[in-house]
Amino acid sequence: MTALAVRAAASRQALLAVAAPVLGLLAWHVTTSGPGYHLIPPPADVAVQWWDLAFGGVWDDLYSATLFTHAMASLGRVYGGFALAALVALPMGMLIGRIAVVRDLLDPSLQILRPIPVTAWLPLAMIVFGIGPRSAFFLVFLGAFYPILLNTVFGVRSVEGRLFEAAAMLGVGRQAVFWKVVLPASLPSIFTGLRLGLGFAWVVIVVGEMTGVQTGLGAIIMEARQLSRTEIVISGMVTIGVLGFLSDRMVQLLGQRLLRWSPQHG
């Protein structure tokens, strides 16, 4: 392809990517603007509210210029819970995948715990960890844990048998085979698990911050709902969407660098 054709294809893709949100905004605007009472505020009001939330200078109320604090609180919990989940789930998944005894020991229990939704853990988390950030942290951990664990187990178990034979005939010993074959071969699955886990961490954060914490995007969304400040609710949602998207892009870029060899990722 020529440089021009590449650029044309890229701008076409960009155009299509913004087309749907623009249409959505338009529809939102048309149905909520104008006279009459609306349950949902129009996009312009939300934009003004978001600006005030982020930088202040419009309403100058209790919420003005607090977005950064809330976003940082949520980011800390999302990445903290996610990191802890990865720290536990990665080694556990590798052990379950590679060692039959560990699998027989843990797998049945995990299969029963897995279908329990994170929301169902909420009351128990509040009893054990109290009302506050520790409960939120725990729920985020739980949300990120299973996707990482399951994908790690899957990756470690589905290494092609041929690769073990190839390694053995080239002189790789029993101990080294994990580092030389199992780990690199399962990296794409592990990576998928981490990406899904981080996504779930963002999904769970709102629930997690319903446990009565003072700061966090989930916390202001819940609080604004009670005060019927729907603009703030939507501003919080938009912020979570954007932050979640950005963090996913970061992970994806990292994956493309590390997994250049994989036709699915490179």
Partner: protein, 263 residues
Amino acid sequence: MGEVLERPATAGTVLPILDIRHVDKRFAFGAETITALSDATLRIDKGEFVCLIGPSGCGKSTLLRMVAGFETVSAGALLMWGKPVSGPGPDRGMVFQDYGLFPWLTVSQNIAFGPIARGRPKAEAAATARRFVEMVGLTRFADAYPHQLSGGMKQRVAIARVLANDAEVVLMDEPFGALDAMTRERLQEELLEIWARAKLSIIFVTHAIEEAIILADRVVVMSPGPGRIIADERIALPRPRDPTGVEFNALRRHLSGLLGSHH
């Protein structure tokens, strides 16, 4: 099982690199037992090029995998330089039909994998890899990943990987089966060149009688149900061999006759 077999090499007999003696292989298949190989006996000298031919299911891959050490023998003995084969090892390199390359390593890294696994210094392994990348004509693709290569190129990497690891015995299971006729011919020539230069001992499984006659010092013919060795023909034609020649065709007829009469 060893003591019966430690017959001392008498004066004048050269120790064969591979000595396969009355080997049986049985697989449990549900409640039944399948005899994949029955009483296989085969001696291969250092530097010999042996082709295995025979209909599907006659145990060619099984025999090769036992030599590689991926499968154990059910009866009999399988010796390399007089010592029983007890598992896979770098002295016996396998070239798989499906290549078995490590997808996360580049061409050079795949070739350097064996030397590094055996504890060679990084720089030495890299130099070895460069040499073999060049030998199989993939210099331009040294940094490509396997998914970016054609089948023929992957097969070259698989061969280079085994050679770079100082394998004395090279086991090849229908390595050129999936390639087009032209690529196959070129790789056959290259293989013969490398074989002669590196003094390799090769067991090469193929379905194609012509390929066997082009390559081999000896063609070993097998038949199924249970898998047995039914003939061991020496090919005395000088190389390079002309598939249109009279003697070549006589051999081809003879070998097809052997294969046909045992169906």
